[in-house]
């Protein structure tokens, strides 16, 4: 069943067409990868999906509640889309640098808060209950992701790998159905990448997620993806399983810039 799909998504910045006529589909429980050379428009595509940019043409649809009915989310603001159940991480880590690990995750729980600011400030009973629940859930999540020992550390002081994990934890705290990961393995050595691969698999299992991932580390991509989309200069040039894409001459040409049989 389709969780996320787009039809002919296109975005133009001045004279540059960053993403051109991109249609794709991500189904429940899948891990789908989006690959392509640098500058191919992958993060831009993510930004369209998550509402940071509004596409010049085309639409994006999201099945927020597992009902089989997809909602058109084109042009909705990022916070609305996150509330519907889609969360993301960023290519260049965007943690709340001067705040603690715990605070980073707690902030991601704010979107579900029903109390208004006065009730929250004066800790009226209902608000106090909500706050306590948020704290428990956040601590639980940190524990499951092995970040709880650092919960009061300032997030920017963490080692790089932990920061990436924290960003994923923060995204998970919003209780998403669909998780968008933008280059989660960037800057990681082979061992860390292997750990991440297992990690992504485990959270898909554990939190019943669907994952859409931009990645350059081909071992991670080929290992874990159910399907792969390939972008080059904003256009989709290939789509299929790992084997299909690996052997696609157009893909090889895009990455290496040479004819496949040269």
């Amino acid at each position: 069943m389709s969780v996320l799909y787009a039809k002919n998504a296109t975005i133009r910045f001045g004279g540059v067409v960053a993403v051109n006529d991109f249609s794709f589909e991500v189904n429940q429980g899948e891990i789908v990868a989006l690959i392509g050379p640098n500058g191919a428009g992958k993060t831009t595509a993510f930004n369209i999906i998550t509402g940071v940019y509004s596409p010049t043409a085309g639409d994006v649809y999201f099945d927020a509640d597992n009902s089989g009915n997809s909602l058109k989310i084109t042009g909705l603001s990022p916070d609305r889309i996150t509330k519907l159940g889609m969360a993301r991480t960023f290519q260049n880590i965007r943690l709340f640098k001067n705040l603690t690990v715990l605070e980073n995750v707690l902030i991601a729980k704010h979107l579900r808060m029903k109390s208004n600011f006065l009730s929250a400030a004066f800790t009226f009973p209902w608000a106090r209950k909500e706050e306590r629940a948020m704290q428990e859930e956040a601590l639980q999540l940190l524990k499951e992701l092995k970040l709880d020992s650092a919960k009061d550390e300032i997030s920017s002081s963490l080692p790089y790998g932990m920061q990436r994990r924290l960003e994923i934890a923060r995204a998970l705290a919003t209780q998403p159905r669909l998780l968008l990961l933008d280059e989660p393995a960037a800057g990681m050595n082979p061992q860390e990448t292997e750990d991440l691969t297992a990690f992504i698999r485990s959270i898909r299992e554990k939190y019943d997620l669907t994952v859409f991932m931009i990645e350059h580390h081909m071992d991670l991509v080929m290992e874990i993806s159910d399907r792969i989309y390939v972008l080059d200069f904003g256009e989709m040039i290939a789509h299929g399983t790992a084997e299909e894409v690996q052997n696609n001459p157009r893909v090889m040409e895009a990455y290496l810039g040479v004819e496949a049989d040269a």
Partner: protein
Amino acid sequence: MDLSILAQHLTNGISFGSLYALIAIGYTMVYGILRLINFAHGDIFMMAAYLTVFGIAFNLPWIVAIILVIGMTALVGVLIEKAAYKPLRDAPKMSVMISAIGVSYLLQNLATYLFTGRPMSFPSLPLLTTPMTIGSVTMLPLTIVTPVTTLLLLGVLLFVINRTKLGMAMRAVSRDYETAKLMGVKINQVISYTFAIGSALAAIGAILWGMKYPQVAPTMGVTPGLKCFIAAVVGGIGNVKGAVLGGFILGMVEILLVAFMPSLSGYRDAFAFVMLIVILLVKPTGLLGEKVTEKV
């Protein structure tokens, strides 16, 4: 409406607008290069006025005084940049803006201390301030000299920006600061020249302003400064032609507002702010500005 009176208002508007234009250019150039609102720019304008007062008081011939004032003001501008903005170049944006506010405040307080808060009288240059009559219209030569000067200076400035190496460096830095630095552009020099030019233009504006409105006081630069920044925003911040356009529009509208709706003249100063809000809502990049998308 009497045509000659209308003509008079229009010429006043153009003249007044060109004063705003001269000051607005300084704001737009600095913002284009450093993305900084130089709050102190209006007070540099004020200092130039005071320098002129003293220059003439020391019996310097006008030509000498003008050249000295322009030079000294340019120097002050460069010094302010080196002392108050350069150290904070890597600091968060808010810090630099607070620094600019601080400089503005300091200059005003310094002027109050040195020259007392009582307004002084700007010297008059009879050549420009004796009324002359053309046809049925009576005006000061100043009223014509001002816009002509502005347009001439604009021409020179555009030439510098578009046809010289310095200008190219300026354009590069305002387009992409980091890359320009990596490409070997002497950032500090470019920035210094920018401040020097902007301040020099403000000084010329101050001299022309003082001849028309001879009251010189420590706070004289505050409201015009703010309004001229608004003019630069309206025209398209970072764009020199835009600053001039914005200055003319603002000046013209103010004069016409007071002329045709005298009951609202108390709100004259508020008008600039209203224009600002409107442009920020309708076309935030300004009339001649270009859209810039932020990379996420």
